[in-house]
Symmetry: C2
Subunit: 337 residues, 2 copies
């Protein structure tokens, strides 16, 4: 799935900022792709970029309108359909992460046929993946893994990409979830891929590359999450990661959506290596990324220092303190290789 | 997905017995459900049950025609469509494991609407699964795991079901693959479930039951298979197995479809326990099932003796030597619990 930037970010008339999380995330990480936002009357979210009509967006070179909002129940309200039809009639593509396929709505399917724009349903994939082969391929790969879901796996690899590119390194964020696909303009939401093809989808997402190239692969779930461990394991084997970074949220007591306790960071390191050896005998932990948002600064720094010493890898909060140490370690690893 | 027996087994005009493997497997394990077979001119397969027209099948109480064959490319040849339409017009349901949805073929969709029969596409599932919760639920569960794909996981649990029922035990085979779904009349092909719902699907397939009830859950893939390990792990957590049986084919040198070597049986036991502890701290290996078809009888018996001693569990070839020892061990375990 390839989505053409630049984007017009559609925020509809969502009642709060949280409902526009996807749209705001795209603007955070790809400001250069986000020409404007389209907000309907009553919209309570703001991505902080110019408000723009569809006609203006088209005139300024926008290729795709991204529906960067979620609606209760994942359905498309009729007045959003009107905007989508207008965008298609203007010749734009439209991309969404909604639970319903755009083409299943007759007005939208007709408008797409008329206008010539493409429809991208990021939660669905029509890509025919092969099953994973598990063979090591050229290029370097870093994967974020976690003690739980929603602990900063996507933001960590995005922060790595920004820092590595600033250093002139050849690095690409590789998306495995819907927001990530909008941010990278490519990828697949692997939670929606049929179970047999998880690893194969990741081999497609992060294909063979130059030996000096870095793929920074967005992790999903946790090997210790009862609901999603299978996804995490398939992702690990598809990634054949040379290095992994453990992501963690230190104040959480039970795993998201279930009653199970979080594993320790050491548990995650040990299990990731025990499993990952199958497809990459060189796999190694190269850092720890902690979301310290709920801790005071002193407390956060003390925790990171303790973790770095205990596990003998750099530990940071990527958003609060940057990822210089994580990238230094990756450069050192690469120098050795 | 619930499929109503009794069945008429449709074998079409397949060129050899292998193409009718699914149909023959259903007859092997559910002879009481299989009233007859429908073969077209030139069919080279024979499930060993009476040939029958659709009208005769209907008259004898058949509820569902099962398309128990695969065609090259998974497509439906036009003359098979004719038979399917005839079955639907007679008021039968039709079930298939083909790669194409029956309802996507207009003649079939129209005939189903006319006749009132249901269409079952076992490779697709419209069941809306929840994500797995990972909570231990009442009832006993046995899962087959493997050193590879296609090493006898389905046949082992089917043999267990037959033996346990013969002893008056309350036991049900739980299908996770397409042939298994036809054999049990229920279940889901979990390789086709979206990745996020593997564990949840298995929780639905093997739901809470009486404390003395046995669910015998068909395993898939291997925790050591680079392509399918994610499926196997999701299945393990959905099953929350009390006991697992390791299935193995001793002459195989590389895993199916990839170039990786097979893990040892001990590797599989260790990894299954290391991972399975998350959702069932009592998980234990209760036996080894070896497909010894390529070994002479003495060699087979010697291998099984060695394995039983080495791993301190019963070891057998379920088809060649029966599963009495495996069931004895499960009864002993249950007595202790």
């Amino acid at each position: 799935m390839v989505i053409d930037p630049p984007y017009l970010i559609f925020l509809g008339d969502v009642p709060d900022a949280l409902a526009a999380k996807t749209g705001v995330g795209i603007v955070d990480w790809r400001p250069e792709w986000c020409i404007g936002q389209l907000r309907l009357e009553g919209c309570q979210a703001d991505a902080g970029i110019p408000d723009m009509t569809i006609a203006d967006a088209k005139a300024r070179g926008v290729n795709t309108m991204v529906v960067g909002v979620v609606n209760a129940g994942g359905v498309l309200p009729p007045h959003w359909i009107t905007s989508i039809v207008e965008a298609l009639d203007a010749g734009l593509n439209v991309a969404t992460g909604l639970h319903v396929r755009l083409a299943s709505i007759p007005e939208i399917a007709e408008a797409a046929a008329r206008g010539g724009g493409n429809l991208h349903d990021v939660r669905f994939t029509d890509e025919r993946f092969a099953t994973g082969k598990g063979n090591k391929r050229p290029g370097r790969r870093v994967l974020t893994v976690g003690t739980d879901c929603s602990v900063g796996k996507k933001y960590t690899v995005l922060a790595l990409e920004r820092e590595m590119r600033a250093r002139g390194m050849d690095a690409d964020f590789r998306a495995t979830g819907q927001t990530g696909v909008f941010i990278s303009g490519r990828g697949a939401a692997i939670d929606a891929v049929a179970a047999d093809f998880i690893s194969g989808a990741v081999e497609w997402i992060a294909p063979a590359a130059d030996p000096g190239h870095w793929d920074l692969i967005e992790g999903q779930g946790s090997l210790f999450h009862p609901s999603f461990a299978g996804v995490s394991l398939g992702l690990l084997h598809g990634a054949q990661a040379d290095a992994f970074i453990v992501c963690h949220e230190p104040t959480r007591t039970t795993m998201r959506g279930v009653s199970h306790a979080l594993p320790s960071i050491q548990d995650v390191i040990d299990m990731t290596i025990a499993c990952g050896l199958l497809t990459n005998p060189e796999i190694t932990c190269s850092g720890i990324a902690v979301n310290t948002q709920k801790l005071g600064e002193d407390e956060a720094r003390a925790l990171l220092k303790t973790l770095a010493e205990k596990h003998d890898v750099p530990a940071t909060d990527p958003i609060r303190f940057g990822v210089e140490g994580l990238v230094d370690r990756l450069e050192t690893m690469a120098g050795k290789a």
